[in-house]
């Protein structure tokens, strides 16, 4: 079945609040990536975290990876209306070439 399953499917918050999105996967991975997609556009890479890393930061973004639970989370702090988008996790399995994307979490940030 599909790797990189995000949870929740949709999330609605007020500007200034934090947003947390989760991703679960099933097999061993080389890396896990988070992407953002604004409506009707292509995906933009946010963060790549390798299997031997536990946490990475980029600006207001924090990604954690727990390989024992096969899960990752993306935290967006102090959200802004401009953060409204769909967020996808993507996993690259060990020994594989393909990167497999989940169905995404739709985030709505209300001004």
């Amino acid at each position: 079945s599909q790797q990189g399953e995000e949870d929740p499917q949709a999330l609605s918050i007020q500007e200034g609040e934090n947003a947390t999105m989760n991703c679960s996967y099933k097999t061993s991975i080389n890396n896990l990536q988070w992407y953002r997609q604004n409506s009707g556009r292509g995906l933009v890479h946010l963060i790549l975290i390798r299997s031997n890393e536990r946490e990475k930061h980029s600006g207001r973004l924090r990604v954690t990876l727990d390989t024992s639970k096969k899960s990752s989370s993306l935290l967006i702090t102090a959200s802004r209306a401009a953060d409204t988008a769909s967020y996808f996790c993507a996993v690259q399995n060990t020994g594989g070439f393909k990167t497999i994307f989940g169905a995404g979490t739709r985030l709505f940030v209300k001004a």
Binding site: G42, H45, F88, Q92, A103
Partner: protein, 112 residues
């Protein structure tokens, strides 16, 4: 900055037509990918290429073919378009197997 461009943002074709979607990247990336994106299904890999003239089937290759004659260009071909191929098509490229993928803006194809 990496730039991945796709030939059309919107395309409307009729059932049975042959459709070409073009993708060009300007960063000398080895790998190129074609995905389709449908609501609730995320991105599904159609084909990918790891070198010129090399191609590999993804998860849903049926009804599609690809061509990579030059390193910077990867074409997706719908031999005989069908209504179930109405979708958003996304092209991506990456430098190496374990690297970030850079996406084009997408082509929204409607087959009538």
């Amino acid at each position: 900055d990496v730039k991945v461009t796709q030939s059309s943002r919107y395309l409307v074709k009729r059932t049975g037509e042959k459709v070409f979607l073009e993708c060009v990247q300007d960063m000398d990336h080895e790998n190129m990918f074609w995905y389709r994106q449908d609501p609730g299904l995320g991105l599904r890999l159609i084909y990918f290429s790891y070198d010129v003239k090399m191609k590999e089937k993804g998860d849903i290759p049926e009804g599609y073919s690809v061509s990579r004659e030059k390193k910077e260009r990867f074409s997706l071909i719908l031999e005989s378009a069908s209504t179930n191929q109405t979708s958003m098509y996304l092209c991506a490229s990456s430098l190496s197997d374990t690297d970030t993928q850079y996406f084009g803006p997408g082509t929204r194809l409607t087959v009538l």
